[in-house]
């Protein structure tokens, strides 16, 4: 009998737990430890942020589902890692602290045979002075509660615009090293469409602010893509959309400080500027959770497990951009020091960014961090689960399931406006996610045909269909496993 502990119940954690439970007999124990009581389908947060969906539409409680599916669930947060056990406990364990109910505040040693760290990112608002959801007129759509607050503020602003007030809206990244530009891109287009729907578009100046060097970088160094019968750069496509929608943009901007209605930022040319706004949605930087790890004798071994995020089978040797390769990226998400610990999704430490790193003249890094959200999270979680299942069933340590982001496709169905007949979506697929310049030297490291973009109503329908399909899948309803990650 084996016991697998999954930390986190987001996209990666929930996918891993679901597949483990389905494929392993009941004699094996699957335990989920997560401080969040609800599963939320994060890609739909942007629709909560424009008031077109309610939080209840994108979440469901985990406890009843896990009870029904025989998954042990502890609503607790991980405190520290003890991969060798200690003098009192022979088995490896994590120290978890309950966050709700009668047990709130009590700590428990949760032992394991295999550990999946799917804790995702810490939303590091503190890294930008004054940036906090709902403060200084700046908001976030990173969680459904943040998105709900953003909508309340935006709704109030729309009322003021109807009364004749001209406003400035700023949307983008809130730190020099933020990622998730895609979410901000979706949100700015949805906000723009909502203003048109409310007939107040001419009352607002909408500006995109981003740490990207070019539009359409998305933390993936941009893309060269098929667009109809043409070949187009993602920067050209996003520029076309923004110009058509009357959206201004500021690029290469590292937001460093937010005051009431003012964002201060540094640009790559070394100048310090500020942008005023009446409503902002700024994505914070992501960081690891700051977990500590200890060996059997209680000595700190955090460096063996973490470098911000969790260390996995990546090549972390520092090297210049010109020498980066897809081989640097992990394949199995296994920690090299402890073979029974894995970190899929956002929890693994990337070897470096995907976009070309750039510094301002003052030495500030202004580079998008690499995205690992959504689809890559699901795929990497499933392959980790499959490897653990094989290790348990065949009692060997060989890992047959591999999935490097340098050999994996991704789809980004970005909403550009909500509505069954008036909505729109920007559908982009990329293969591979990390560009392979050796394999595809003439097409910016990507395979054309599998890297394509298109704009239109069908994109909105697809995004909506995926919303329902993935919530169905997450609820583990009949034949849920037929829906790919």
């Amino acid at each position: 009998m084996s016991k697998i502990v999954v930390l986190g119940a987001g996209i990666a954690g929930h996918v891993a737990a679901s597949h483990l439970r389905r494929k392993l007999s009941k004699e094996h124990e699957v335990v989920v430890v997560s401080p969040n009581g609800n599963y939320q389908w994060i890609p739909s947060n942007i629709w909560v942020g424009i008031g077109r969906m309610k939080p209840k539409d994108i979440l469901f409680p985990l406890a009843p589902l896990y009870a029904k599916k025989h998954i042990d669930y502890k609503q607790a947060k991980a405190v520290s890692f003890h991969p060798e056990g200690d003098s009192e406990e022979n088995k490896p364990y994590i120290l978890a602290e309950y966050v709700t109910g009668d047990q709130k505040g009590t700590q428990e040693r949760v032992t394991y045979d295999y550990l999946i760290n799917a804790t995702g990112p810490k939303l590091n608002f503190e890294a930008t002075e004054g940036l906090s959801p709902g403060k200084n007129k700046a908001h976030s759509v990173c969680t459904y509660t943040h998105a709900q607050e953003a909508w309340i503020a935006l709704e109030g602003l729309i009322k003021q615009m109807k009364e004749g007030k001209k406003v400035r809206i700023l949307i983008g990244t809130g730190h020099a090293k933020s990622t998730c530009q895609g979410a901000a891109f979706e949100y700015i287009l949805n906000v723009e469409q909502e203003l048109r729907r409310h007939k107040v578009r001419d009352m607002a100046e909408i500006t995109w602010i981003s740490n990207e060097y070019n539009l359409g970088d998305f933390g993936m160094d941009g893309m060269l893509m098929s667009y109809g019968s043409n070949i187009m750069k993602s920067s050209e496509m996003v520029e076309m959309i923004f110009e058509d929608r009357g959206i201004k943009w500021i690029l290469g901007a590292g937001v460093s400080k937010v005051e009431d209605g003012v964002a201060h930022y540094e640009t790559l040319d070394g100048s310090y500027k500020k942008e005023s706004y009446d409503f902002a949605m700024l994505i914070p930087s992501f960081s690891g959770h700051g977990f500590k790890a200890y060996d059997r004798s209680g000595d700190d071994i955090t460096d063996k497990l973490f470098r911000g995020f969790m260390i996995v089978d990546a090549d972390y040797t520092p090297k210049p951009y010109e020498e980066w390769s897809v081989q640097d990226w992990p394949e199995t998400y296994q920690n090299p020091s402890y073979s029974n610990i894995f970190a899929p999704g956002i929890a693994f430490a990337p070897p470096h960014s995907i976009s070309k790193p750039r510094k301002s003249k003052n030495g500030t890094d202004i580079t998008p961090a690499p995205p690992r959200t959504g689809m890559p999270s699901g795929i990497t979680a499933k392959l980790v689960a499959d490897n653990i299942i094989e290790m348990i069933k065949h009692s060997n340590d060989e890992l047959h399931h591999k999935g490097s982001m340098g050999n994996m496709g991704a789809a980004c169905i970005a909403s550009a406006g909500f509505g069954m007949t008036t909505g729109s979506g920007v559908s982009i697929t990329t293969y591979p996610i990390v560009p392979d310049y050796n394999k595809y030297p003439d097409t910016h490291g990507r395979k054309l045909g599998k890297t394509f973009g298109t704009i239109g109503l069908a994109g909105h329908w697809l995004k909506l269909a995926l919303h329902y399909a993935f919530i169905y899948k997450a609820k583990m309803k009949p034949f849920w496993w037929l829906i790919p990650e």
Partner: protein
């Protein structure tokens, strides 16, 4: 605001009948990219 998408293109993008077929095409194409497999890179 600068018009960068022509009226014809916009009609194509927003016509529900055309977009219905585009939806089917897009779903299949996305499925091929997404479910088309993944693997390692070091022994390739």
């Amino acid at each position: 605001m600068t018009r960068r998408i022509s009226k014809y293109k916009r009609f194509m993008m927003m016509n529900p009948i055309i977009q219905f077929f585009k939806f089917i095409y897009l779903s299949i194409k996305v499925l091929i990219v997404v479910a088309g497999g993944h693997g390692g890179t070091r022994n390739a």
